[in-house]
Symmetry: C2
Subunit: 326 residues, 2 copies
């Protein structure tokens, strides 16, 4: 057997590798979640805004693999039955992001699923601990898609310190900008029990991502993204102001970022234009949802190969740490 890592996360979840896949809305279907679980991590289906039919189809696609599901909390609060319907599909874990998890926490834990709460600041962590989260994901601003402003490198140890006094049994997972074994190893030393990877697995062959979007990330570096609310305005999504989406800078963001009021006033025209461009995979006129880790990604590969390499790198990097000791 090849080298591997053992952490509180691998033990608690009964998985081989301390890697969870981000439940990316639209992009993380059953095929990706199953591939991540099969590779030894924990795969999460992107329940997103809560379309029960889509979620059921993706659980079917995941087949017999143990997978979980994630939701956008403020959105599913508007159609709360969605969470109960997903629990009937026996997810191993449910991840809640972007909103107070209180309304769903008991229901999830009573169903026997692991409650994962993604947090972008210390207030969120306080809410998550109060709700009884089993695992907290501390997500830094580097992340693709929705998030907030704290950087991963300082957020993770600050959350680790908070948990060590307030709730030491709660596990901590780092997210945001993590695409290789260096970042996994670094995250463990910062106090995390594992990592959640989004962008790196968005750039996998199993992700539900248009091939032209995949070509775009391979051609991009980490400087090419921006945090903006423009894709949410174009789509008419009612995101709380504290969260923005990190996407590729392109003609769409050049046109509308900084002029959000005009975009909001023109959604009758711009909304359908955005949707058509997204469906076409047009990388210039709709959101291309990836994060700063783009600069570390040079090809689209099967999720299993990605995870295998990340673990091998992390093992090598952790071993190399001893070489600095004098």
């Amino acid at each position: 057997m090849t080298a591997a890592l053992s952490t509180r996360l691998t033990k608690q979840l009964g998985i081989a590798h301390p890697i969870i896949s981000a439940p990316m809305a639209l992009a993380a279907g059953g095929a990706l979640a199953a591939a991540v679980t099969r590779a030894g991590g924990l795969g999460l289906i992107g329940g997103g805004y809560g379309n029960s039919d889509w979620i059921r189809t993706q659980f079917e696609a995941a087949g017999a693999e143990r997978v979980g599901v994630g939701f956008i909390t403020w959105s599913v609060q508007r159609s709360p039955g969605v969470v109960a319907e997903a629990l009937a599909l026996n997810p191993v874990a449910v991840m809640l992001s972007f909103g107070d998890p209180a309304a769903f926490a008991d229901q999830i834990k009573d169903a026997g699923a692991t409650l994962i709460c993604q947090c972008q600041n210390l207030n969120h962590v306080e809410q998550a601990v109060r709700a009884g989260a089993d695992i907290i994901v501390a997500q830094g601003s580097e992340a693709g898609g929705h998030g907030a402003f704290r950087g991963t490198l300082s957020l993770v140890p600050e959350v680790a310190d908070f948990l060590s006094t307030r709730s030491p049994e709660t596990l901590l997972v780092a997210a945001g900008g993590i695409a290789d074994g260096r970042a996994l190893a670094a995250s463990l030393l910062l106090g995390a029990d594992g990592v959640l990877m989004g962008t790196r697995l968005w750039a996998s062959s199993e992700a539900v991502v248009h091939p032209r979007h995949h070509e775009t990330i391979v051609a991009s570096n980490g400087d090419d993204t921006i945090r903006t609310s423009t894709p949410d305005i174009a789509r008419g999504l009612d995101w709380p102001a504290e969260f923005t989406a990190r996407i590729r800078r392109n003609a769409f963001t050049e046109r509308w970022h900084g002029d959000e009021q005009s975009l909001a006033a023109n959604t009758a025209v711009e909304g359908p234009r955005y949707s058509a461009a997204f469906a076409d995979g047009d990388p210039d006129n709709a959101g291309v949802f990836f994060g700063e880790a783009a600069g570390l990604i040079h090809s689209i590969e099967p999720a299993g190969s990605i995870i295998e390499r990340v673990i091998a790198e992390a093992v090598a990097v952790l071993r190399s740490g001893a070489s600095y000791l004098r």
Copy 2:
């Protein structure tokens, strides 16, 4: 002797610990730089916008300790004699940040000083390598004071990859959000040869910081800062748009952030008001310049104690990395 770390940075600079202090304009005087060097790191005086008299006084304050100096590049380009005057004081290193270093690089290297270039993105790194930088500081957005948008955790490995192919002899130092041994250890695993610490040393007894500002950082967490151009507008400083300052959120930022045009139109009144508040140490009505690492800082201590603890922590954390290997 206690445990210590050895990296390419300690060897190249002939220092005991892979820690450089940020040349924080106004805050990093000769006392801080000397204390950092005395503790085994490399101390840099904050030459900032280039006041030759102040710089000379601070070199005198540093006494016989080997220290360097840092400048804000776009600013000293307007009074280039300042760099030559500083070189006459025999700095061991000169750090240039925020602008193309080309105009000063040869002069610095010809004087026998180590050229350190702070970079916020890959274009900056390209410029720095072209200028012949000996050391590149990859500064993430978490940093206090001026910076840009990339997060430290993804910027550092991306720059490491760039240098490994383009200029492997150039050293790499991580900055932004680094306040303890966990972050130092993590930075080494991400590919850095050492770290540059600003906020943590701003919160030291040797820094030129008003006691009320020191009280403010101790009472703050990492969520309490914001990146904004408002302090630069109030001070009439002509910063390039790509750089903003991370400062404590306070009444001043609540009033003006998002309404920069009004501030710019009212500098005749607001400028002197800002200056008076800053001189008073008023934490509400002027910029308080610290970064996201505030959440990891709970007391003001001598720089030497800080460095000693960071190294001891980093050694312990690097050793603990082996415990994850299965």
